[in-house]
Each structure stands twice: as C-alpha cells, then as structure tokens.
Amino acid sequence: MADTTNLFAGTAVFNPGFGQTPFGTYDSQGTFNADVESTALWCAKRLGYPIVDIELQDVHFFACFEEAVTEYGAQIQRYQIRQNLLDATSQTKTNLTTASADGLNGLINLSEHYGAEALTGGFTDLKSGSIAVTTGSQVYDLDALWGSVSESSNRLEVRRVFHNRTPASRRYFDQYAGSGNSAMTVSEFGWQNRGAGVTYTMLPVYDILLRQQQVEFSDIVRKSTYSFEIQNNKIRIFPRPTSDFTMWFQYFVKKDKYTDSLGAASTVSNFADIDYRSLDYSSINAPGIQWIRKYALALSKELLGIVRSKYGSIPTPGGEITVDGDTLRSEGATEKESLIATLREDLEASSRRNMLEAKKDEAEFLRETITNIPLNIYIG
C-alpha cells in the first residue's frame, strides 16, 4: 500500500480539544468546528484537489484557519486599541473585547492633570504651610522652616503665597478711605438682616466699587507693594515687615505630583496591557468570516508553496523537475497583504473621526438638496 500520509486525504474531520489546531483558542466556539472543516475542504479544492494532489494534511488547513481568525482579531483589536487607549489609560483593566469606549473619558482624565497645574482639580493634594514672619526680617528658608520639618525634606513646589495687603473691601471704612456702608461690615460678621443700631444707608454698587478702587490706587501709588521672590528655597518678602505675623502658602510636594499622576498597578498603562482578548468566534459577522476564509486560503497557499519549494528542484527518475512552490508562496503573500490592506482601509473608514466627517458631509449634502426643493405655495 502506498504511503500517502503526506497528502490531503479528501476529508477533514475536526475533533475539538485534540490538538488539531495549534492553540485551540476557538475550538467549539459557535460554528468554528463546522467552519474549520468546510474551509479546509474549500481550500483544498481551490488549490486543485482532487485533480492534483495537495501536499498538506487537514491539520495544516485547520492551523491556517485558526491563524486567520487570530489575525482578523488582532487587526480589529489593534485598531480598537488605537481608538481607545487614551480613554482606557489609568483606568482599571476591564475586558474591552466586546465593549466600546465613549471617547470622553480620556479627555476628562487629561483635563484632571491640567487642572492640577491650574489649581482647579487634579489628583495631587495642594497642601498649606506657614512660617512665622518677624518684624524687620525679609528672608526665610522654606526648606529649613517647613520642608525639613513637615515634608521630610522633600522638594516643595510653592504655588501660592498669601502675602497681600489687607483687601480694600476691609479698609474703605477707615479714616483715609472714607466711611459709610456700615451694614456691609455688619454683614461680614454674620449679623446681616438684623438691627445693629448702626446707620443704614442704601448705596449703589458703583459707589462701593469706586471706593475700593480708590483704596487700591492709593496703596499702589503711595505705599510699598506687597510681593515676594523665591530663589533656592528662600523666600524674600516685600515690604520689610513692620509687625510679626504668620504667612501662609500653598504647595505641592514635587514627588507627589509625579506619583499621583501614575495609575495604579492594576490599571491600563500602555498598548500591551489594555485588556483586549481573543475574539469569540461566535461573535464574528458574515463579512468577517469571509475575510477569514480568504486569509486561510492565502495561508494555505503559502504553506503549500513552502512545502514544494524546500528543494529548488525535485528529483524524478532519471531527471528532475521544478514545482510551483515559489509561485504559490508569492501568490499567498500577495493575497495576505491585499486582505490586510483592505481590512485596514475598512477600519480606518469606520474610525470616529471619519464617521463624523461622513456624517458632516451627509448633513451638508442633505441641506443643499433640500435647498433646491421648491416650497409649496398654498393659495387660499
């Protein structure tokens, strides 16, 4: 009996779980078992069986089919990762294989980081500290007075120093700024809406604004400006203090800003750990299945070409022949490239950006079309 174990036998019987597919990823998922058999037969026929022998076995076709499904999933999911990585970064790892992101989460997350810098949000605590300012002393070492004591010598990033002149609103009642709205003062102490035995005069708002501006201009023109400089941990305050007081400031601990901006270990950090898994074969639609079949055929063709071109020429009794291995490999590779290019084009066309553009175009065309429709005129 001739040894024909290297040849396709004309039948393809798939037994899931018995190692007929290299990875067994999709065994028994949906119609995979039936599809892998029918695709094997189809591929063999497309390669010329039974007119010519096929130097492959059914397990080779099964392997090609499994690889085709995996390649399809990989292409789809690489595209999905590109679409969703921004939204998923620093989020808890969640299986996104069949989920879709809303497209705003990533932007909001970015805004949080910007918010930390703008002191309007973020993930890092803005801390408060203070130093005791003494009369006549302008320079204070923030590291020695606060960083070493309260923050274990960690570097501070001072974001706000509360060293300002008393606000004009608190001072326009004094003898230099004029007086009048005692009700406002009462209100400051929480005694509004009560009879406090003070004169109550109804004044327009512009009166208040003018008074406050007058106070501020007076400070700017006639007095020293309240300001500060920080250099190498040392803060120099202006003007020279003429009394003892506590000066408060707000700061970030520098390393907190970095560590707080990182996601936890269990969160998505990059292209490699965003949670996309193998596709469920039963969820793939008809166009997808057709792509997979064609890709499996291209792989089979390439594989058959590899088998046939291991040797440059095949010996025959008294001579040698050249078989079509190289041609098959070339055709298989070309078909694979073409299929992947087509799939990528489809995916790009269905990106959020492109779909929105298409919708915009559609709306514009629709508007132009409607513009050309004559309006009905009713004559009563």
Partner: protein
Amino acid sequence: MGLFGSYRDVRLFNLLNKELINEVIGISVDIYKSSLKDMDENLYGESINKVYFPGVRIACMVEVDEKSYVSDEFGVDFNKTARFNFLREELRTVANLKLEIGDIIGWDDAYWEIDTKSESQYIAGKNPNTDKGDGAHGGNFSVLCETHQTRKTKLNIEKIHRAYNNKLRNI
C-alpha cells in the same frame, strides 16, 4: 546525520513523483519477468523458447530514441532503443518485483528487452540501506533501464501469426 533528505523529504519526493508519473504523464508499461522454472534449457544452459510470467502494469517515464536502420546480407532491419525510468517506490509498492537484465517491457505495441540497469540515483547522495551513518537519510530513488526493441516472435508472450497475407500476395 544530514539536515536534508530525511525520510519525510524522501516521502515527499515519492509522492510528487507518483502523481507526476501516474496522473500527469500517465504512461504505463507491462513488465514481463522470465519464468526460469518453466523454461527448458539445452546442453549449454540456453533456453531457446523463453517463458514469461504474466505482465505487471506499472507507470514509468519513457525516453525513446529514433529508429536506426541497418542493411546487411539478410536484408533491412532496424534498431530502436529506449530508456524506461522507474520510481523504485512504485516498483516496490505496485509491482512488487525486482527488475533484472533480460526482463521484457511491453510498451507502444512493442517489446523491449532490458540491456542495462542503473540504481544509483540517490537522494542527497545517500542510500540508506548501505549508508554508514544513521541510515535515516537519503534514498535509493529510481531504477533506470536501457532497453532495445526485440522481436515479438521470440518472446511467446502473445500469439503471432506468421503466415502470408493473401491480400498482399494477390497484389
């Protein structure tokens, strides 16, 4: 141990050649082995009337040379030679016989007697049956036979009518 010419490779070559010989080229010949026990020999150990076993049909590759005519005192005759190249695996599995010099090959309504036989086409230069290595590489691949066309009348393989043709005689 060689990297090339393993039993898998040899098996692939055999399968490709089986397809080539049987299905692509599709030339079949009949091999007639002489039946020594059925032949009577004379005083010198010669057998005037040869007897052959029934033919065994097998596919092979054939290369035929042109006829060459010779003319001598007995009249005009011709010589014709051909090479029959057999796949050893096919001989083993289909015909189950060993070709020898003197065996007859029936092809193209003629009989060809084997003059020489060559069995030295080795895969990867090795014959696993004689190789001093692991014996798992290479292959003794083919049997190449040089033949000449022989007269049907001396073979007794088929009945030959040697009478005159009346029609020809009456011309």
